[in-house]
């Protein structure tokens, strides 16, 4: 029963994928969309069942399907693990997934390849579930690669645009770099523990299995590189903003709510190993904090509505990594969840705006939408408040917890995180003001067509906005349900912050910081009514930020160019030499063959002569020589 249900949970989206990819073209658009949505909803229902069950019994559900690999002292099972952590992840993956599928039915309705879109989305959900459910690193790797593939397919969904294809390739290649790290990490762990099952590794450690600390450190670092690639951390984050080339629901589902959290999931899953390597955790914390600041500062001046959200995603993920690096896994998970709610809501809201403006993404051409798109505006506002970290919205609790932990462990990181938060508040309200306030700045024709989106789009927005509003309730400071819930999968008990004066002061600082950010944005874009200048007029520091610190250009200069140079060297020198050698061999063989061909002269007399001589020599050898 449990096995079947777990398989249903896993394969429902896959079935949706198969149906949509093979028969989708013949089905009507609404039907393909509904099929895709129902497939994910089924998974969600199954997840809910397991979630409630585990909530009661507190024992994880293990499903062992078969033995996958058996080597000398190394066995990998094809098994799934439904414990507190994976179920929590599945809850929001399938839950938000269902909402976004629903949203896509309406959003993608005009696209001729809608069935393909839903097929890819379903496939993505399938791989994400595999990633989360797997009971060992190899199965996680299957999902890990699978979601990368789906991300590639979906970013390049509008494949007729070369820029989008490039963005898809970039995402794929960046992910590959991370994946290599992840794979090497798995290899080292397999070497160290003779297993890749989470439970067995944990048990071995508890039984006093001695592990080479240096190798373990390298393994953890490699895994972290993998997480960097998937979760868009410095220095591999550049793919995520470009990934916004895909349809907006994809940005919401994959590049904000679920796939990018895979790295965080992996680190949380292996928290018992990361705890053993404090140095690596230090690196994670620093990388996270710096990423959060860098991305936030870039987000300050972006004009593309989805780019702003993309940088905000990178920045928030940076904060989550900061939490991970500080060993506060519960808080990281908490922020992942709240972030999934409000960021999905923000992306879908921006999708709704883009939908209303028929593909316009530049905020300089928006404005005044508040009056027309009331539901979108309200949900967007709630999510913006949540991400800015104002109480009582969910973002406040999670972000505050992160900053509080940072304050207790490492004050410079706290400063960086706080700065990033203030910036976040600023650019999110900048986005809000530019999009929804003042007057509409687009063309007359667009203005004429402005409309609120249909129910299928607004319903997910409302649900997500409500979740963004109340999501903080799962882990209130002082009485955290989440910490308790996650305790079984964590190696160390969660830190308990006594709510003293310091803590209240920190909360105050965070709120005041957010208010300052909002205030500056208000003064700039409402009071003065500024509109960001056109690309050509951007100068000074703003220009550096607008061009994302020229990171892409730097990568081009220091990595891509040398690789091209090596490539052309191999092509022009090595290839010529090698193929010269190989062709030379071929030519020699041909020459030899041509010589040998003259023996086959077709003259029967000659053949007979040779035949007679042959018989002679055989007879001579047998009877005379031997």
């Amino acid at each position: 029963m449990e096995t079947n249900l777990a398989l249903l949970l896993l394969f429902a989206p896959f079935a949706g994928f198969l149906i949509n990819i093979f028969f989708g073209k013949k089905l009507s658009k609404t039907l393909t969309g509904t099929l895709g949505t129902v497939a994910v909803a089924v998974s969600f229902a199954a997840t809910l069942y397991f979630f409630l069950q585990v909530l009661q019994t507190k024992t994880p559900v293990m499903v062992n399907l078969f033995e996958w690999l058996h080597l000398a002292n190394f066995t990998v099972n094809f098994s799934f693990q439904l414990d507190q952590l994976s179920l929590l992840w599945l809850m929001f993956v399938t839950g938000i997934g269902t909402l976004i599928h629903m949203y896509s039915i309406s959003y993608m309705h005009d696209d001729e390849n809608m069935h393909k879109f839903f097929a890819y989305l379903n496939l993505f959900v399938f791989f994400m579930i595999t990633l989360v459910m797997g009971s060992n690193l190899l199965i996680m790797f299957i999902g890990w690669e699978g979601v990368g593939l789906c991300s590639y397919l979906l970013i390049g969904f509008w494949y007729k645009n070369q820029e989008y294809n490039d963005a898809a390739k970039k995402a794929f290649i960046m992910n590959r770099i991370g994946d290599l790290g992840f794979l090497i990490g798995i290899f080292i762990l397999a070497y160290l523990f003779h297993t890749v099952e989470y439970d067995l590794m944990k048990a071995e450690l508890e039984n006093g299995w001695s592990v080479d600390k240096a190798w373990l450190g390298i393994a953890m670092l490699c895994l972290f590189i993998g997480a960097c690639g998937k979760s868009a951390q410095l220095p591999l984050y550049t793919w995520l903003p470009d990934a916004m080339a895909g349809p907006t629901p994809v940005s919401a589902l994959i590049h904000a709510a679920t796939m990018v959290t895979a790295g965080i999931f992996m680190i949380t899953r292996l928290n018992f190993l990361f705890n053993l390597t404090p140095d690596v955790l230090e690196i994670i914390a620093v990388v996270g904090a710096v990423t959060s600041l860098v991305a936030a500062s870039i987000g300050l001046v972006q004009n593309d509505i989805k780019k702003v959200l993309a940088y905000s995603t990178v920045s928030q993920l940076g904060l989550i990594f900061l939490a991970l690096g500080l060993g506060a896994y519960e808080i990281a998970v908490f922020h992942v969840i709240t972030h999934a709610f409000f960021k999905a809501c923000l992306f879908l809201g921006s999708g709704s705006v883009i939908h209303a403006l028929h593909g316009e993404q530049d905020m300089r051409n928006m404005g005044g939408l508040r009056k027309v798109m009331k539901i979108t505006f309200v949900t967007f506002l709630i999510s913006t408040l949540a991400i800015s970290g104002l109480p009582p919205f969910s973002g406040f609790f999670s972000k505050d917890e992160i900053l509080m932990t940072a304050f207790h462990h490492n004050k410079p990181l706290w400063v960086i995180g706080s700065l990033a938060s203030i910036m976040t508040a600023f650019y999110m309200f900048r986005l809000l003001y530019l999009t929804f306030y003042k007057d509409f700045r687009g063309t007359e024709e667009q203005k004429h067509h402005l409309h609120e989106s249909p129910t299928l789009i607004t319903f997910p927005l409302i649900v997500l906005a409500i979740l963004a509003l109340v999501g903080g309730a799962i882990s209130l400071p002082g009485m955290s349900w989440l910490n308790e819930y996650l305790a079984p999968v964590m190696a160390k008990p969660a830190e308990h912050h006594h709510l003293g004066n310091t803590e209240y002061m920190l909360m105050g600082i965070a709120v005041v910081g957010a208010l300052i950010g909002i205030g500056v944005a208000y003064a700039k874009y409402i009071k003065k009514g500024e509109v960001p200048p056109a690309d050509a007029q951007i100068t000074g520091v703003t220009n550096v930020l607008y061009n994302k610190y020229y990171v892409d250009e730097i990568y081009t200069a220091i990595i891509i160019k040398p690789i091209y140079a090596i490539g052309s060297f191999f092509k022009n020198v090595t290839e010529v030499a090698l193929s010269g050698f190989v062709f030379g061999l071929g030519r020699a063989a041909t020459l030899l063959g041509n010589q040998g061909k003259t023996v086959q002269n077709g003259s029967i007399g000659f053949y007979l002569l040779v035949f007679v001589l042959g018989v002679c020599s055989i007879l001579g050898y047998i009877f005379l020589v031997k």
């Binding site: 007399g605 000659f606 002569l609 007679v612 001589l613 018989v615 002679c616 007879l619 001579g620 009877f623 005379l624």
Partner: protein
């Protein structure tokens, strides 16, 4: 008897050589008939009467007549054959000498194995005995031989008629 053997052997080898060396195919054929007759003489010396008769009928009677007919049909009865290149002819002579040398050397080397011949006095080659052996022990091969001859006959007809079928 020995004298007779030498005479017959000389005829056999000589006509065989003449068969090969004469320019005109008709002459070759006639020398070959002579050669076959001398071999039949050998058979007679062995007292193998059945084979003597069959040999003359089959070889001299059937095969050689067939060949003569073919030669005449193709109008080959003139010595217009060009000689092989000199190199091939030398090669042929060398090969002939070599094979003869090897085979003779082989047999001479194995001479000790050949024992003195003893007569058992048993009748083993009269037509009566041969008939019994042929139709008792070798019945199936005998039938197969008939099938083979039938098939070759059909094949020969088909091959020589092929052109007409194509047209």
């Amino acid at each position: 008897m020995l004298t007779l053997f030498y005479i017959l052997s000389a005829i056999t080898l000589g006509t065989a050589f003449l068969t090969i060396l004469s320019k005109n195919p008709i002459h070759s054929a006639i020398y070959l008939v002579l050669c076959f007759f001398s071999i039949a003489g050998h058979y007679l010396m062995f007292n193998a009467q059945f084979l003597f008769i069959v040999h003359i009928i089959v070889y001299s009677g059937a095969i050689m007549i067939l060949m003569l007919f073919t030669i005449m049909l193709m109008n080959l009865n003139k010595a217009d054959e060009k000689n092989k290149p000199i190199l091939s002819r030398i090669a042929a002579v060398v090969a002939f000498c070599l094979v003869a040398l090897v085979l003779l050397a082989t047999f001479i080397k194995s001479q000790p194995v050949i024992n003195e011949y003893k007569v058992s006095g048993q009748d083993f080659q009269s037509i009566k005995v041969l008939g019994q052996v042929l139709l008792n022990n070798y019945m199936v091969p005998f039938e197969f031989a008939s099938v083979l001859l039938l098939v070759s006959m059909i094949g020969a007809v088909l091959l020589s008629k092929k052109e007409h079928i194509n047209n």
